[in-house]
C-alpha cells in the first residue's frame, strides 16, 4: 500500500498508509474501535473507493474477484440460520471463481475438502451451519477463504468471542499458513493472542502509529497514542507484562 488515503461519508478515515506485506508474515493489526481496521482490509480488497494512493497485490492494482486474496469477514456478516451444510458454505467461497452458470466440479470439491482438513472440520462437514458453536463458525469462515487457495489471507477479528483452546487452534493454523509462504493480516482486539501469534504488529488509528516486531513495541507512548488511553491504563500494564 502506497500513500493510501480513504474517506467514508466525507470524513477522513485513513491517511498516509504505507504498508508492505510479504509472504511468510503473520501481521496483527491493532487499534481502537473506529480506528479504520476494517476499512483498511476493505481497501485492500478494493471494496471501498480510495481517495489517493494505491494498493498493489502481487504488483498489480487490487480489484474484487482476484483469487490471490482470501477474506474472512467478521462473524456476524454471515447468515448463520441459512439451511446449508458446512461443506456447502465452504464451497460458496469459490462461487466467484467458478464463474456464472457453472456448477462445481471435482477441483472445487477437492479444494473444499483440503480447506476443511486444514481447519479440522472434516467430521462436521454435513452439519447445518446454524448448529455450530462460535469457534466452529469461525473455522468455517476461515475454510471458506482457504477454499480459494489464496496467497494472502485477510482476517477481521477472528479471535473475538473465542475461548483459549480455539484461539490457539486458529493461531497455530495462521502460523502454519504463514510458514507455508502465505501472507496473513488479521485485525484483533486481543493483545495477548496477537503478541503470541504474530510475527509483526501494526498499530493503527487513522494512520499507522507503529509497525514492528512485538518485542520492539515496548514504548508506552505508542500505545497511549494509538488507543487514546491514560498513562495508568491497564493496557500498559498488559503491554509491559508481555
Amino acid at each position: 500500500m502506497d500513500q493510501l488515503e480513504v474517506d467514508l461519508g466525507g470524513r477522513p478515515v485513513l491517511r498516509d498508509i504505507n504498508l508492505r506485506l510479504d509472504r511468510g508474515e503473520l501481521v496483527g493489526l491493532l487499534g481502537p474501535n473506529g480506528a479504520g481496521k476494517t476499512t483498511l482490509l476493505r481497501a485492500i480488497l478494493a471494496l471501498t473507493g480510495i481517495r489517493a494512493g494505491r494498493v498493489l497485490v502481487g504488483g498489480k492494482p487490487s480489484r474484487p474477484g482476484r483469487c490471490e486474496i482470501g477474506y474472512v469477514p467478521q462473524r456476524h456478516e454471515f447468515t448463520w440460520d441459512f439451511p446449508i451444510s458446512v461443506e456447502q458454505a465452504v464451497l460458496s467461497g469459490r462461487t466467484g471463481r467458478m464463474g456464472l452458470f457453472r456448477r462445481p466440479g471435482v477441483a472445487d470439491w477437492r479444494a473444499v475438502g483440503a480447506a476443511l482438513d486444514r481447519v479440522q472440520l472434516t467430521e462436521l462437514r454435513r452439519r447445518p451451519v446454524g448448529e455450530l458453536s462460535g469457534g466452529q463458525r469461525q473455522r468455517v469462515l476461515v475454510a471458506r477463504a482457504l477454499a480459494l487457495a489464496p496467497r494472502i489471507l485477510l482476517l477481521d477479528e477472528p479471535f473475538t468471542g473465542l475461548d483459549m483452546p480455539t484461539q490457539e487452534l486458529l493461531g497455530d493454523l495462521f502460523t502454519s499458513l504463514a510458514g507455508a509462504e502465505h501472507a496473513v493480516l488479521m485485525t484483533t482486539h486481543d493483545l495477548v493472542a496477537a503478541v503470541d501469534t504474530c510475527s509483526r504488529l501494526v498499530l493503527l488509528n487513522g494512520r499507522i502509529i507503529a509497525d514492528g516486531h512485538p518485542a520492539d513495541l515496548q514504548d508506552a507512548a505508542l500505545w497511549t497514542t494509538t488507543f487514546g488511553v491514560s498513562d495508568t491504563s491497564p493496557l500498559l500494564k498488559l503491554v509491559k507484562a508481555i
Binding site: 474484487p64 456478516e77 454471515f78 447468515t79 441459512f82 439451511p83 460458496s92 467458478m98 452439519r127 448448529e131
Partner: protein
C-alpha cells in the same frame, strides 16, 4: 362433491375454464414456491408484498386499454422492483421505508387509473381476490413460458443467489455483481407474483410466495430439499384448494391460501426435528431414560441450537 365429480367437471367441455384455471394455479404455485425460498431466506417478504401491490397500476392500464393483464402487470412490477433496488442503494432511508413509499404510491396510482374505466367495481374485485373464470387461452402460454424462464434463471444463478444471501461482503470481494443479482432476483419475484395474480388475486398472492417456502423451511435444514418441498406444497395446495373451492363454492384464492396455511401450521407442529411436538417428545425422552442416547448427550445439540430443549 366427490373427487370423481370434480374429475368429470374438469373434462366437461362446457366447463373449459376449469382445467385452464387449475393449470395456471398449479404452475404459478410451483414457480412461487421455488422463488419464495429466496424470499423467505433473505427476509424479503415485504418486497414480495410491495411488488404484488405495484403491479396494480400496470394491470389497471392494461384493463383500460384492453391489453394483456399479465404483460401490463409485469411491466409495472419490474419498474417498481428496479426503482426499489436503485433507491435502496442510498442507505440514508432504509429499504423498508423505500418499499413502503412505492408500495402505497403504486397502488394509489392503480386505483386512480382503474376508476377511469366504466364498470370497474367488478373487475376491481377480480384483481383483488382472483377468479377462475375469464382466463384467455393466451394467458396459459404466457404463464407457462414465463414460469419456465423463471425456473431456468433460478437454476442458472442458484449458487450466486445463495452466495449473496449468505454473505454480501464476501460476495463483493469475490467479484460477484451483487447489485445486478439483487435486481434479477427482484424481477424474478415480480414475475412469479404477476403470473399468480389471475387465480389468487392481488391481496393474497403474497401467501403463495411465502407460506409454502416457510413451511418447507420448517421441515428441513437442507436448501435443496427445501426448494423441492416448497413447490410441492404450493402445487398441492393449489389442487386441493381449487377442488374445495369448486365443491363448496368458496373463493378460489382464499381457499388455496387457507390450505397452504394449514400445511404451514401442520409443519410447525409436526416437523421431524424442529417441530413443536418433536421438541416436546425429545425433552420427555431425554428426562425419562439417561442411558439411551438422548439429544442432551449428543454434542450437536449442546450449543445454541436448543433454546427450547432446555
Amino acid at each position: 362433491m366427490s373427487i370423481t365429480d370434480f374429475l368429470t367437471d374438469l373434462f366437461n367441455p362446457n366447463l373449459a375454464f376449469l382445467p385452464k384455471a387449475l393449470a395456471i394455479a398449479v404452475m404459478s404455485s410451483i414457480v412461487c414456491g421455488v422463488v419464495g425460498c429466496y424470499v423467505v431466506l433473505r427476509g424479503m417478504a415485504f418486497i414480495g408484498d410491495a411488488v404484488a401491490h405495484a403491479v396494480f397500476p400496470g394491470i389497471a392500464v392494461a384493463f383500460v386499454l384492453q391489453g394483456s393483464l399479465v404483460l401490463g402487470g409485469a411491466v409495472a412490477g419490474v419498474a417498481t422492483a428496479l426503482l426499489i433496488a436503485i433507491f435502496s442503494q442510498n442507505r440514508r432511508v432504509k429499504e423498508d421505508s423505500i418499499i413502503g413509499v412505492f408500495l402505497v404510491g403504486a397502488f394509489a396510482l392503480g386505483i386512480v387509473i382503474i376508476s377511469q374505466a366504466p364498470g370497474y367495481a367488478g373487475s376491481l374485485q377480480q384483481f383483488l381476490f382472483g377468479s377462475i373464470t375469464g382466463i384467455p387461452d393466451r394467458d396459459l402460454y404466457v404463464v407457462g413460458g414465463a414460469g419456465l424462464v423463471i425456473l431456468g434463471l433460478v437454476l442458472a444463478l442458484h449458487k450466486e443467489f445463495v452466495a449473496v444471501c449468505l454473505d454480501r461482503e464476501m460476495s463483493r470481494s469475490m467479484g460477484l455483481p451483487v447489485f445486478w443479482l439483487d435486481i434479477v432476483l427482484y424481477v424474478l419475484v415480480t414475475l412469479a407474483v404477476v403470473i399468480s395474480l389471475q387465480t389468487i388475486g392481488n391481496i393474497l398472492v403474497l401467501a403463495l410466495l411465502i407460506t409454502p417456502a416457510a413451511a418447507a423451511r420448517l421441515l428441513t435444514d437442507r436448501l435443496g430439499v427445501m426448494m423441492l418441498l416448497a413447490p410441492v406444497i404450493g402445487g398441492s395446495a393449489a389442487v386441493v384448494g381449487l377442488y374445495l373451492s369448486w365443491s363448496y363454492d368458496t373463493p378460489v384464492g382464499g381457499t388455496i391460501v387457507l390450505i397452504a396455511t394449514a400445511v404451514f401450521l401442520a409443519a410447525w407442529l409436526l416437523a421431524p426435528r424442529h417441530g413443536l411436538l418433536a421438541r416436546r417428545w425429545r425433552r420427555r425422552a431425554g428426562q425419562g431414560d439417561g442411558s439411551r442416547p438422548s439429544s442432551l448427550s449428543d454434542p450437536s445439540s449442546r450449543q445454541e441450537a436448543s433454546p427450547v430443549t432446555r
